[in-house]
């Protein structure tokens, strides 16, 4: 394939990428962001899949079976915690304007500059081989395309300007410069970059899927044929089981852990996961969609690896299978597509990684050094924001050049995966201080620093040095016999620990030392105030109120602050920031001079803006230089935190209390309502009683006065008057008796003597007692009693009183010719029912409950103003109902059944059968006629 065609294709691809990035940036400036979508966020995370994935997975699968999947299962595990843990990091990064993982760790441990520099240095050393790996992948893939079927020419043998990877590095460097450092922003977000990265993720996935489909369905007749062919040549083919994995089961677990940790701690992953995140809700979708992307890009790895192995010598290195397979089939276009896929994978990684690293270098290595030089710090006219960009640009080139150096000097001795895993192990050293710091408030800066140094040294000793030895820089005896022949110090078998693969071995020792130092030292050191403050803010980050707390108490003038910001952020950004606080200030202060005090919010915002550009350490130094007075110290912050949480707690309790009070108030109101009603009823009752008592008293008094005044009254008249007096007195005492009954019933003091009673006998007796009255009034009384005894539990006297009362009422209301009343006793389910019915006017539906109210009859009479009063106090029915209720039964009015008048029913529960006491009552149905 022609060299020029390849170069042209590669440059066109980079051109498209650049246009996309520029478009993304412009949209962001217009406020119409294109990256505010969980899918774009997910695709940007897929920058995880580098050339290592694209070329190396197949190679790994060919040599070490399913272990290549571990590199992707690890991130899957980490993403399952996305919503729990990464969200916390995103929220902290947003609130504190964090720009990189070095910034994050340093901010957690009291904005320690030493820690930030340390993390930056480790990151550079860790990532250099990784960048070298990408350069190697691009160069090798280019060489294969141009030289096939010859083996690609050996690298590193030419002078550097003849070495293609040098030019690849240079082009990538310039490209990264172009859209990685176009402007300084308060937050280190690169929207255009994210758009480009997302696009690259689509390209590399598509390229790999196309290749996979080609291998499985074009070269072979579907997966079945491919696997069958592979099975026949069993001697060359790995069996895809755990035995092919280096280190077996322990190697499996070790690599899984390594990939999980590195996924979060690699600087570029931190950049896209945390710094470039625009909305923490995107994490929800990404938590499962990103692992799904990983599944997709790994789907065809095993078939491609098997097909590559079947190719024999024509397949060349396993890392090259993805290119040699279509080339061996004689195709032109497909190898080109694969090449672009690989290029996408490599460039995405290199761009994001170098931007992340250059930010760290400029903020944590170069700027802190520059700030120490007094002349720079004191010169107010110098605009440092352009300096900052310059430093970043140089850093990008330097980093890429270091990557190239590593590649040129060491690259040949390793396969792609090996280099990647060495980087992973170094990046994993950030995990203890990063993750433990999120949840353990005690973790201290000293502990984190010593842990990082310890872990890094172990990493260097167990992975980096042996790598040098294998490249021939150091004697191989270092690996085989240990330094100075000390077997206990063999880098691949420290303290004689053997049986693990080299990565698990290195990870175990380095993390053990790292975590051990972090925990032990933290337990024995005291944190500084700022450290404690930051620790509290980080560990409590998911509590909503925490991050809004303003931590500055010191004072400075607006003028000073303005100058400071202009120097580091430029005019425009400073102006914007000050405008945000302009309105409040002018409204509140009448002195408009620039020397007025800057409000704490402005100072906090200024620090955040500076942090966004310079990292937290430098920003703090700068702010300290203009602000007089201290930042809030720990006590103040903790008390703010505690006060807010206490306030919340109080609020919650107050809410409960007030809800309770409201409920009680409601209850009281209704009780009061009821009391008033009762009071009214009592007044009415008293009025009624007085009225009722006065009527007979009036006539008694009148007749008594007549008898007293007219001594010569005739005897029979006198007799008549005396009769009236006696009758009215009887009525009076009956009335009083009833009132007393009612009072006892209502107060619950009524004594009843319940005993088994034969209701049939009792009904018969009651009829007998009142028969005389019916005969006098010429009313026909029809009685229908059951054949068997009807036992109930009741007070016989009281029950009889009720029955007689009902019969008497019926007698009063029955009318017409012939006036009729019936009494029926019958069984109803588990009860006995006694019904009394008359042929009177009846009781209207809506009146049926009211007849049981006290004096209802009187009220009605007063309303209708008629004198057709049937007699009686109006207390009979209420008393009857009260008595029946006391006996456990019911008394009510229902629709007439036989006579069209009123029908009153008593219901009492059945009692067990008793011995017959008295003589048998008359056999029913019987009839008594008056």
């Amino acid at each position: 394939m022609s060299d020029w065609l390849l170069v042209a294709v590669a440059f066109s691809y980079l051109g498209i990428l650049f246009l996309l990035a520029a478009w993304g940036d412009r949209r962001a400036e217009q406020g119409r962001s294109v990256i505010n979508s969980p899918s774009i966020y997910t695709l940007s995370i897929a920058v995880y899949c580098t050339a290592w994935t694209f070329y190396g997975s197949v190679g790994r699968a060919a040599e070490a079976g399913p272990s290549f999947l571990l590199i992707y299962l690890g991130p899957t595990l980490a993403m399952l915690l996305g919503w729990v843990m990464l969200r916390k990091m995103v929220r902290i990064a947003r609130a504190q304007k964090i720009t990189s993982i070095a910034d994050f760790i340093s901010a957690r441990y009291g904005k320690s500059g030493l820690l930030a520099a340390l993390v930056t240095l480790i990151a550079i050393l860790a990532i250099m081989p990784y960048i070298a790996l990408q350069l190697k992948a691009v160069t090798v893939s280019h060489a294969i395309l141009t030289d096939y079927p010859e083996l690609p020419s050996k690298l590193g043998e030419e002078v550097f300007w003849q070495d293609k990877s040098f030019w690849v590095a240079l082009v990538l460097g310039i490209f990264t410069l172009l859209f990685g450092t176009r402007h300084l922003d308060a937050s280190e977000r690169h929207e255009g970059l994210v758009v480009a990265i997302a696009f690259e993720s689509i390209i590399k996935l598509l390229a790999f899927l196309i290749l996979g489909l080609f291998v499985v369905f074009w070269l072979y007749d579907g997966p079945t044929e491919l696997f069958q062919t592979a099975a026949q040549k069993s001697e060359q083919i790995t069996r895809l089981g755990l035995e092919a994995v280096p280190g077996g089961a322990s190697g499996w677990v070790g690599t899984l852990l390594l990939a999980s940790l590195a996924f979060i701690t690699l600087p570029r992953q931190f950049q896209v996961l945390v710094v470039e995140n625009v909305d923490e809700r995107h994490l929800k979708r990404a938590s499962w969609l990103f692992p799904l992307y990983l599944v997709a890009i790994n789907l065809f790895v095993i078939p491609v690896a098997l097909a590559g192995l079947l190719l024999g010598d024509a397949g060349q290195e396993p890392d090259s299978f993805v290119l040699t397979l279509p080339l061996a089939a004689g195709l032109e276009l497909l190898p080109l597509i694969v090449f672009i896929g690989g290029l996408a994978a490599a460039t995405g990684m290199v761009i994001v990684e170098t931007i992340a690293l250059s930010t760290m270098v400029s903020n944590h290595l170069v700027m802190p050094l520059l700030l120490r030089w007094k002349w720079l710090h004191l010169d107010p006219d110098r605009n440092l924001s352009s300096w900052l960009l310059g430093i970043r640009r140089i850093a990008i080139l330097v980093i890429l050049f270091l990557g190239y150096l590593y590649h040129a000097l060491l690259g040949e001795s390793y396969s792609l995966v090996t280099i990647g895993l060495v980087s992973f192990a170094a990046a994993a050293q950030f995990a203890p201080s990063l993750l433990l710091g999120l949840y353990w408030r005690q973790a201290s800066a000293k502990g984190a620093t010593l842990g990082l140094i310890g872990g890094f040294l172990i990493w260097a000793y167990t992975l980096l040095l042996p790598g040098f030895a294998q490249s021939g820089w150091l004697p191989l005896s270092l690996i085989e016999e240990g330094p100075w022949g000390l077997a206990a110090l063999k880098p691949y078998a420290l303290l004689g620990l053997e049986g693990l693969d080299i990565y698990t071995h290195a990870l175990f020792w380095s993390l053990l030392v790292n975590l051990g130092l972090l925990i032990a030292v933290s337990l024995f050191t005291r944190q500084k105030h700022l450290e404690q403050t930051q620790a509290a803010l980080f560990t409590e980050a998911l509590r909503p109120e925490v991050m809004q707390t303003h931590l500055w108490l010191g004072q400075t003038s607006r003028e000073e602050l303005h100058q400071l910001l202009t120097r580091y952020l430029g005019q425009e950004a400073t102006h914007k920031l000050f405008q945000r606080f302009q309105t409040e200030v002018t409204a509140e202060a009448n002195r408009s001079e620039e020397d007025q005090l800057a409000p704490p919010e402005l100072v906090a915002a200024a620090e955040q803006a500076l942090t966004g550009a310079l990292g937290s350490t430098s920003a703090r130094v700068l702010i300290n230089s203009v602000v007089r007075g201290e930042a809030l110290d720990l006590e103040a912050v903790l008390s703010i935190l505690d006060t807010t949480s206490q306030t919340l707690e109080y609020n919650k309790r107050l809410e409960q209390k007030s809800a309770e009070l409201a409920r009680i108030g409601e209850e009281l109101r209704s009780a009061n309502e009821r009391l008033r009603e009762l009071d009214r009823l009592k007044d009415e009752f008293v009025a009624m009683i007085s009225h009722e008592l006065r009527t007979p008293l009036t006539s008694i008094r009148a007749f008594a006065e007549i008898l007293r005044d007219s001594r010569d009254l005739e005897t029979d008249k006198r007799e008549h008057f005396l009769g009236v007096i006696v009758k009215e007195s009887e009525r009076l005492s009956r009335l009083i008796e009833e009132i007393l009954d009612l009072a006892r019933l209502e107060s619950g003091r009524l004594r009843l003597n319940p005993e088994p009673v034969d209701f049939r006998q009792l009904a018969g007796d009651s009829v007998d007692a009142i028969t005389q009255l019916f005969q006098e009034a010429e009313i026909k009384l029809q009685v229908q009693l059951p054949t068997q005894q009807a036992w109930v539990i009741a007070d016989p006297d009281r029950l009889q009183q009720v029955v007689i009362n009902l019969l008497d009422n019926a007698r009063k209301f029955a009318k017409g010719k012939p006036a009729q009343v019936t009494l029926t006793l019958e069984a109803w389910k588990n009860n006995w029912r006694l019904a009394v019915e008359d042929n009177g006017p009846g009781i209207a539906e809506e009146e049926r409950e009211k007849v049981f109210e006290k004096f209802h009859q009187i009220q009605q009479e007063a309303a209708s103003n008629s004198r057709q009063r049937p007699g009686g106090s109006g207390l009979g029915l209420p008393i009857s109902r009260g008595l029946i209720a006391h006996l456990g039964g019911r008394l009510w009015v229902e629709d007439p059944k036989k006579l069209k008048g009123a029908r009153l029913v008593i219901e009492l529960p059945r009692a067990p059968e008793q011995e017959a006491k008295a003589d048998a009552p008359p056999a029913a149905p019987s009839e008594k006629t008056g």
Binding site: G65, L242, R281, W288, P291, L292
Partner: protein, 65 residues
């Protein structure tokens, strides 16, 4: 769904994934399944998809906090 409940469920899912992706459960499937090839890769892909389906169901079904 309350936030803490969702978080607890996600942690539970992580534990399930850990069990599925590590020995000894892994060893159960690491035996010749087809044409002498180990069933391990097939099992890994299947378990992976099950875990992701569960994660998607948990996360997409929940309301924002």
């Amino acid at each position: 769904m309350k936030g803490s409940l969702l978080q607890a469920r996600l942690v539970g899912l992580l534990l399930l994934a850990l069990v599925l992706f590590t020995p000894p459960v892994l060893l159960v499937f690491d035996r010749p399944a087809w044409l002498g090839f180990s069933g391990l890769p097939l099992y890994l892909f299947a378990a992976w998809l099950v875990i992701l389906a569960l994660a998607a169901w948990l996360l997409e079904g929940s309301k924002d906090e």
